[in-house]
């Protein structure tokens, strides 16, 4: 039985990154993050991080990018040539821009940045996103006690990432997890996280033969899907980021069957 299609090497790299992020999260001074818990805005689906004033420490961010580079090169020495010189590019002004653009997931900016500086297209956004996450995770940690249920269609209530992962916990409680900021919140078992329908005839489940722990919940109304992992079967619960990575085959299956990571309500003709 093989639970994941992801190679052990890549899993280990990700584990290392997650470990580093947890360590970095501990370095952030909680005073620099000031959440503004506007209940009305949150109820309307505005991600809490967008309402939070974060005073980023740019030198930390630059340091983390350096650390990520070291880790990547340790895992794959061939990357050294490709990653060298990035630290030189990353002056304070660029770092601030990177944080802003990573925050809003502006892949267009990062692609053009890569092209401009002759980098491989994946590099800038990967580094920026990985180094931004400790801040998002710290924010999520502070807001977590206020989170109960999310707003279907609005994505993660903290960082706005589209919803794609749920875990079954305790007596079968469905808990949505954000692999980006690690926030989690409850959801109804029969509810589409994209369009909010509770019509049991519209919600279907795809299962993979031989995969005992996971299912894909799909919605015939909006064509969205989420992955549901029964984490009660695990000896130790892995982090949401690892769960998301290790269940990537489910994303392929769902998307090959015509379902989308972000559901869209069909418009009546």
């Amino acid at each position: 039985m093989i639970k994941s299609v992801v190679s052990k090497e890549y899993q280990n790299l990700q584990k290392e990154l997650i470990r580093l992020q947890a360590q970095w999260k501990g370095m952030i001074n909680p005073e620099t993050i000031k959440p503004n818990l506007d209940k009305a805005a949150m109820a309307a689906g505005v991600p809490a991080a967008a309402l939070t004033a974060i005073d980023f420490e740019i030198s930390l961010f630059q340091q983390w990018i350096e650390d990520i580079n070291t880790l990547l090169i340790n895992h794959n020495p061939e990357l050294e040539a490709k990653l060298s010189g990035i630290e030189g590019l990353l002056n304070e002004e660029t770092a601030i821009r990177w944080i802003e653009e990573a925050f809003s997931f502006n892949h267009v900016y990062f692609e053009s940045f890569a092209e401009e500086h002759g980098l491989e297209p994946w590099i800038p956004q990967f580094l920026a996103e990985t180094a931004l996450r400790p801040y998002l995770q710290k924010t999520a940690e502070m807001i977590q006690p206020e989170l109960d249920r999310g707003v279907p269609g609005a994505g993660c209530p903290v960082c706005g990432e589209p919803v794609r992962l749920a875990a079954l916990e305790d007596e079968g409680k469905k808990v949505l997890h954000c692999p980006r900021c690690l926030a989690h919140w409850r959801a109804k078992r029969l509810e589409c996280s994209h369009c909010g329908t509770e019509d049991y005839e519209k919600i279907k489940f795809l299962t993979i033969e031989g995969d005992a722990t996971s299912q894909i919940q799909v919605c015939e109304d909006c064509n969205g899907y989420i992955k549901i992992i029964d984490t009660r079967q695990y000896i130790e619960k892995p982090s949401a980021a690892l769960l998301d990575l290790n269940s990537i085959h489910l994303d392929f299956v769902a998307q090959e069957n015509g379902y989308k990571a972000v559901g869209e309500k069909k418009q009546p003709n």
């Binding site: 005992a212 079967q233 695990y234 000896i235």
Partner: protein, 275 residues
């Protein structure tokens, strides 16, 4: 690579006899159903077999107050720390995994049955096979504690299906602590309640909280690795291999086993020389 040692903790006082663990086991390990005779109770099989790795045992017991206790026990391999089956196996087909579980390598197993005869808990059985020439051969089978699931970070199938929470799986020390605490909680109702983690086999990786004495469940009070097994594995086999080489060792092996194994059935005359 030393991984964490895990224990399956079975609290029989929480079991309601639903037998979902039996179904989950058959399902996960792809074991065929067996036709069995009615045994006079809800129990489906007299004991574990080569195709039924765990059996829910039903015991009607008269307690000390003269009342009837209907006792249930999920019975399967104990995964002993010092496993007699591992000791006696002449082919080294039985081994310990990094998780502390005891598994049989079917490529190495020759179906000699020594493990079956020496298991203090009688949980191993031989299964008959026929090869394409119609020749019969046998292999030993038993619960693997779902080692294939453990390798992927999942709990055994029986544990994940248990709806009353009678089974738990986790860190060895934490589970034993839980078991000891549970015994204190149920002492009023079951004065004979005890943790069953027999030290005669070095402790087990299935630890029970029993409501009554082990003998009530047909379990040995103090199971041991048979002395003959220790002599065989720790002395005779290494010394023999050192002195005589493996081929001659097979001959000596046959002699030693015939001589020492108490539970082995009578050999026909002249059975010692397998030539």
């Amino acid at each position: 690579m030393a991984k964490k040692e895990y224990v399956k903790f079975v609290d029989v006082t929480k079991c309601d006899g639903c037998r979902a663990c039996m179904v989950a086991c058959k399902n996960w390990n792809d074991l065929p159903a067996e036709q069995t005779e009615f045994l006079g109770s809800s129990q489906s099989h007299a004991k574990t077999t080569a195709d039924t790795w765990n059996v829910l045992q039903f015991v009607e017991h008269e307690n000390s107050k003269g009342g009837l206790d209907y006792l249930f026990r999920h019975s399967s391999c104990f995964h002993c720390t010092d496993a007699a089956c591992e000791k006696v196996c002449p082919e080294n087909a039985i081994s310990y995994t990094e998780f502390g579980t005891v598994v049989i390598d079917h490529d190495k197993c020759v179906g000699c049955g020594y493990c079956v005869q020496n298991c203090p808990f009688e949980v191993i059985s031989l299964k008959e096979y026929k090869d394409k020439n119609g020749k019969e051969y046998r292999k030993a089978h038993k619960c693997t504690m779902c080692t294939d699931r453990l390798e992927e970070g999942l709990q055994p199938a029986c544990v994940t299906t248990c709806h009353t929470g009678a089974m738990e799986f986790g860190d060895k020390d934490a589970m034993i602590q839980k078991a000891e605490k549970r015994v204190q909680e149920i002492k009023d109702r079951y004065p004979n309640a005890q943790v069953y983690n027999p030290q005669g086999v070095g402790g087990t990786h299935t630890v029970y909280v029993l409501a009554e004495k082990p003998s009530v469940y047909g379990l040995p009070e103090n199971p041991k690795v048979p002395t003959s097994a220790v002599v065989w594995k720790d002395y005779a086999q290494p010394v023999g291999k050192l002195m005589l080489g493996a081929t001659t060792m097979a001959l000596v092996g046959a002699f030693v086993t015939n001589k020492f194994f108490s539970k082995k059935t009578e050999q026909e005359n002249g059975g010692e020389s397998h030539e």
